[in-house]
């Protein structure tokens, strides 16, 4: 299969590779996919004043999965949590020119963003509950 130039670019120079401490208060972590399916994405956000100040990812998967998660971290930086959670996989498909057989990679990236936002929100809610009023 031939890859689009955009996929190759992200695969060869992936953006925002790495990890934040997942127990840090301002970090949300999304871990989606399964090793048995050949795709696992870990996407993390660092949130400041309701805005995603930074994002990191690590991905086990094909070149399109790596490119999808790399692009996702680029897209969400500077977004509010709601804006990030509203990102649709089709935006990733379009940007990377993914063929039909690789659409699931973009779906996984969308799921990873949502999971990271959810995790951050849950953390904040738990913290709010735990704090004395």
């Amino acid at each position: 299969m031939a890859y689009s130039d955009k996929v190759i670019q992200h695969y060869e120079n992936p953006q925002n590779v790495g990890s934040f401490g997942k127990d840090e208060d301002d970090v949300g972590t999304g871990l989606v996919g399964a090793p048995a399916c050949g795709d696992v994405m870990k996407l993390q956000i660092r949130v400041e004043n309701g805005v995603i100040a930074d994002a990191k990812f690590k991905t086990f998967g094909c070149g399109s999965a790596i490119a999808s998660s790399s692009l996702a971290t680029e897209m969400i930086k500077g977004m509010t949590l709601d804006q990030a959670a509203a990102i649709k996989n089709t935006q990733i498909v379009e940007e990377l020119n993914l063929p039909p057989v690789k659409i699931h990679c973009s779906v996984l990236a969308e799921d990873a963003i949502k999971a990271a936002v959810d995790d951050y929100k849950k953390k904040q809610a738990a913290r709010a509950q735990g704090e004395p009023t």
């Binding site: 871990l31 996919g33 090793p35 050949g38 870990k42 086990f60």
Partner: protein, 430 residues
Amino acid sequence: MATPITKPTTAPAEHGKPLAMAPAGVKLPIFLDNHSTTPVDPRVLEAMLPYFTEHFGNAASRNHVFGWTAEAAVDNARAQVAALIGGDGKEIVFTSGATEADNLALKGVAAFYRKQGNHIVTVETEHKAILDTCKRLSRDGYEITYLKPDKEGLVTPQQVADAVTDKTILVSIMLANNEIGVVQPLAEIAAAVKAKNPKTLIHSDAVQAAGKVPIDVDAMKLDLVSLSAHKMYGPKGIGALWVRRKPRVRIDPIIDGGGHERGMRSGTLPVPLIVGFGKAAEVAKHDMPEEAKRLRALRDRLYHGLTSQLTDTYVNGSLEHRLPGNLNISFAFVEGESMLMALKDVAVSSGSACTSASLEPSYVLRALGIGEELAHTSIRFGIGRFNTEAEIDFTVDLVVKAVARLRELSPLWEMHQEGIDINSIQWTPH
């Protein structure tokens, strides 16, 4: 041994990346996928050429010299192909390839011996040409037993014999596997089968083994053998089914029309391809002892080069009972297709799902009980006649760097480093 013409070269400039320098004597890209196909050996091509334009006759033409010349060339090729497996030229039925040979063996025996029984025994790790044919036969009322190999990829003679009943007309077991290169103890299997039921015929898809390991159809007690030219440095589009004459094995044809190949396979013979097949078999037989040693040394060099520099690697299938040029190895925590992308200067293949339309990883690896997460990380290296030591060294270097880079990208590798068992996590299959 033909020496390939090589010169120092550079990879094409792609995507603004700096040019990768290949060392002297290495020409990129490197072909390490010799189980999928092989280049035509120049000696083979040379033998074929006169049969396109000069000796173009129809081997079935009985009345003129053009036909006689073609027929003589075909008969010579029959003898060459048969000699590779210790058979007689008169026992060779030329086909379009091994897929057709497998179909002809199974469907041909099934139809002819229907009154004797309806049971066929095969193995889960067979090529799709066998498995899909069995699937069709089972729809037509035949009973198929699919044996499960052990974790090394091997079946035992006892296990096969135990599956044989008085209704078993055929046992079909490949000699060497196309993904993992594992070589079955076929002589012992055939002996055990014949001891249980002397009427049961033995077929073997020997496509990957022929020309790489010795085959003797009499010593091994085989009745039918499938062969393919393009896996042994011959042309694509020609294969053969060897069908034993003494005692006579019968098959119903699946292609009718003209009665060529003693009625077992009609159709005008592709003389140039057959001549090439014959020459390829002759060269393979002649070079086999030396070439097997050379390939094994290259394979071991590849294996030691990789495993001495990388942790968490797993060889799939028995390393001992294996074709000399095969290495199928999993690089844990690195998905196969992303590896293929990193190795764009080296042609190999992966057992991961993403490379095919199917979302399942290799059925061969799964039959060995290898976990899906590890099956997704497998790479098959197929070393062949034209590969060199310099190419192997270049490949080792490239693979080691790619695995290191992709592991840095892998959340599973990170978990592994932190001592987290990835099997303890509640994953969400998608």
